[in-house]
Assembly symmetry: D2
């Protein structure tokens, strides 16, 4: 496979460039008989959309999704579901002047080296706009997981710069423009982002995703561990530079007796008394909440002057204009949720054939 | 695919349980004409082997590899390379008494839920013994990368508990039993591990891998980003709970102007003046050193008494005897190197067909 | 994978129903730097288009292709190439009255059993309309094969009913509406088809494809033999019930001394003196013409009254109206060529990484 | 994937050369909890074994299988099942003298062109010995299909040279050494094979496989049609040059009204009144018997002198000594059955996730 597809049984293939005609996705392997309409997709795309607030890009895109196939009389048929979103507010003029320059932190240089040419307009495939297809596919995954298992997937901005959420109140997440579950810290984050923008700079942060009510047994033992696939899924989101599960990197300083989650019985079910494992043991879900985090680097496009080189190998300076999010976290939240949902639905389907007696 | 295979063009499939007859691996897709002999594999397996020192398990395994296919007159033929290592020092007696108990931190419970039964002896597939096959396959990958591109892959223990390497001297790594590149800190790490073992406990840590001399262009733009595949590869190693690239999680507190690596020209080559990106931009290698880190949780098997539940749902206590590494980092180093090598060789092959003009 | 994708390195994913909004294809893995424009695709689609003559369906479709992604300044960029063809002349009225009936020879019953529901309009995914995407992707494959290796892929109708081409004159193929390389027999075929239509019936036939100038070495030794992949590719075309290579089924009555193609040297090249093998030995191309044949069953949609059953399990009679090709061969020719091209380009790319010394 | 693996959910990977140390297979994706012991595998291998009669090779191999992993207390655990068969009666002496010659009809030349070198001993991977792994994996597939669905897979020699079975009596198949279901014709076939051997020549033939009691719904609609995957599976068997389903190539001369199988109701079940389709409509099983045929070319290894070329490009003559089957059909029967079983079990598993309501 050439890298634009993801999944084993529930498979999405995304296509489209930031400044091309459209972006889209084909979802193959969705079981037949699921109620699905464009609104189910649209509501997730609206959460990812640009132009939502003063902390995001000012590009105006309606991001109106159209389902082109795979649905008949309101239900999925088992056929591939093709979805398209046209690019409407494309302005490539800002890219003309820098088309010979490699933007630091961007994929310009690496695409040029890989392919011998590149579409310099708006990052093309490297643009976060590619994630429209992920969110659209993820909306279907979420719907299946919710209807079948009442799995709920909740993402939020946990940190922006040095500001970290001190409490996690899910009801607050969509009440502020940074999607922080702590309303006090949300204000600080927002202010920090606005300041960074004013200085022509950008900020990094951390997004956390919790998946509740995941049944035990999802994940394959060796290479396709549930956490391994989550790590790939999240690391494949533009600007992500790290992923951790449960206590993650903090485990380096823990003792085994501290880190191991003791088993107990609650309400007749086998549970753990704490959740350092983040809901995954040996690569397989254990029924506790799945907790994953990813770090999002500060947006590479900044107005500040940077040193670079042009495609002829000459030193140059660059200021990256255009319309960019000064911090990617708020809009990365629905993308991260989508990727978690896609991994879970794929493993949920795979797990249906694990036991001989249940077949 | 059922999860025991890894790679797209250079594909390995591992098999075998910790307390079964043997463990092994089949490598399919190795180009024909590579000089390969058992010693090439053995030297890497010897680095992974147990019973090496007082900080590792006392199980005695020669881990003598036998190549069963794919080589003719000292060269690979393009056919699958099957390699086997027999388990010789198997002692399952310690597992009889706990076969009805779920060991905290282990995959016992999740395997039971997934499969409805489990091989309780020594962790079976969840055991680190499965990584014999990865290291054997990785040895081939390393050889290809070295002979063709002079790529060198160097792993080491960066942190154990609260002890962190303060300097990185590659020449020191194999001079101490914890594989720490800082000889002073190595002693502290060793002492800490011995103490943890005495207390019936275990320690976590961090392993870092550097890949030098990787050509630009490796990695696919969207889902199969080089860092995404590295993240999956490393997260699939037993006990790993987090992966980061370059500055990783530290990027959360950085500004774009700090994090972006400016381009420059050195010796006629386009380079970056620093390497916060860890050698990867937009999912594709940029020619700088690739730097990845993974956190290894403290060994789950500890002698200390823990609360648990048996397979009938009754509360119980458990002390996990057997022969275990009190800190997994030293032996995780060659495994991490192998996984990095396997990702790189697969993407190196994939990249051979990226440009029309070069075909 | 869920079955709508094909290929390993050059991967197409088709989507869309016969009576839906559009049909399309995403091609992932096309090398960067290939000159490609919509006309390159359109000329192949025009050969597959309906409404071309009195021996094909009367549905009128322009089949105008639009490339939505993957091209920049006239060249492929390495990104997925998304292509769409809108359905314009959709008339589902004929299907309303038979929506509860299972058409004999069609996939109605099997889709219903597989999915529990079905889109009854025009066969949906089972329609030959799905092959629009294959032909579009195949056009790219053909272009690569031609530009790089001067591979030429020529398909034609070899047999319709009991009329068999007696001579093979490639220049004649596109000179008659049945695409027969023998102009005399072409007239007989045409007449037979018209007669069958008049009687409310349909005719089967055989399509042959020759690939000239294929270099030796394409194909993998065991499961992904070149002929195995060709067999799958052709058998996946609607209505195909058999595939053979070279002498094919006639080999059953041959002696080894007759069937083996002796090697010789012609113009300094190793060649065979005849080509019973159809250009493939041990699953790998040998440099001779690749010759494959497929049998196309008579069109299942016929006006004659047939016995059937409705979805409630009651016996019924059915006459299948609508617009159908009375013989599928003429329009199956470009589809068969496309599938052969897709297999060849995929194996051509795969073969680029076979030899260590050439990497 | 590099071509030595087959299947999507039930995946086998074969390895090993004809004259190497051993041949083997890894089966990944077998559901946990299936009773499995070595005898289940051995009985199928015994049917494939050489040295069984005067119409097969005189190589003596016990073909004793050893299961190395994946079984615990008599049941599959969900882990990969590794099986090995050592090569015991290897005699490579006959190949020394012809190691520079390309045997007509064999893969010598194509392997040399693909890989730049080759293991000339006994055909290496191109040898029918590779099919040991297929038969071993197929034995597991058969067991699952039988225990869960009472699917029975019956293969037999339908034709040898010009001798065709006139009646199909399954009870007769294993009563004669050519595995022909017609005892009278069996004698003629046997005689013909013995005659061919005496003349230093070989014979082709046709093998048919019937799968009874296959539930409707297996197969995916577009590329992974059940018949497409069967075609690939059978065409990947050494020496096979054609595959057909149901009436196969005879459909070319049929009318739609003849070929379409009318639906009816028998014992409350929807059935067809005849089975020209061979049990597959639109790529999906319809509940009727699945009927597939493959043509096996006459054995390429013959004693008669043939014209060839050596690896230096010089004309030469060759007589292929060694121990060969003068007709491959009898021993191809269990291999064909295995491949059919492998395709069916894979699609049976895939079909478990087709309907939302049943998940």
């Amino acid at each position: 496979m050439a890298g634009s597809s993801f999944g084993n049984l529930f498979v999405l293939t995304t296509w489209g460039e930031s400044h091309g005609k459209a972006v889209g996705v084909v979802v193959d392997g969705c079981p037949a008989g699921l109620d699905l309409k464009e609104e189910d997709i649209q509501k997730e795309l609206d959460r990812r959309r640009v132009g939502q607030s003063r902390v995001t890009s000012q590009r105006k895109e309606e991001d109106r999704v159209e389902i082109l196939s795979g649905i008949f009389e309101g239900k999925t048929t088992g056929a591939p579901i093709s979805m398209i979103v046209y690019n409407k507010d494309v302005d490539s003029s800002k890219y003309e002047s820098i088309k010979h320059l490699f933007r630091p932190g961007h994929a310009d240089y690496t695409y040029q080296m890989k392919y011998g040419l590149r579409d310099y307009r708006g990052g093309a495939r490297a643009s976060a706009r590619e994630t429209v297809g992920r969110v659209a596919a993820g909306a279907i995954a979420k719907k299946i997981l919710w209807e079948k298992e009442q799995i709920r997937i909740i993402g939020y901005t946990k940190q922006v710069g040095r500001f970290k959420a001190q409490k996690i109140d899910f009801s607050q997440i969509e009440q502020n423009i940074v999607r922080c579950p702590d309303p006090e810290v949300a204000k600080q984050m927002e202010e920090a982002i606005v300041q960074a923008r004013k200085q022509g700079d950008s900020l990094g942060g951390i997004v956390e995703v919790v998946a509740q009510h995941v049944p035990p047994g999802l994940g394959e033992p060796v290479f396709d561990k549930l956490d391994a696939d989550l790590a790939k899924a999240l690391m494949s989101i533009p600007a992500v530079k790290g992923v951790e599960i449960g206590t993650g990197f903090a485990a380096a300083e823990m003792l085994g007796s501290e880190h191991n989650d003791p088993f107990t019985v609650i309400d007749g079910k086998i549970r753990t008394t704490r959740n350092h494992a983040g809901g995954i043991l040996g690569g397989i879900s254990n029924g506790e909440d799945i907790i994953v985090r990813m770090v999002v680097k500060p947006t590479s496009s900044i107005l500040k002057t940077q040193q670079t080189v042009d495609i002829f190998g000459h030193p140059a300076e660059i200021r990256v204009e255009g319309r960019h999010d000064p911090c990617l976290c708020p809009r990365a939240v629905p993308v991260a949720e989508a990727m978690v949902a896609l991994v879970l639905v794929d493993h949920w389907l795979r797990n249906k054939v694990s036991q001989f007696d249940k077949l």
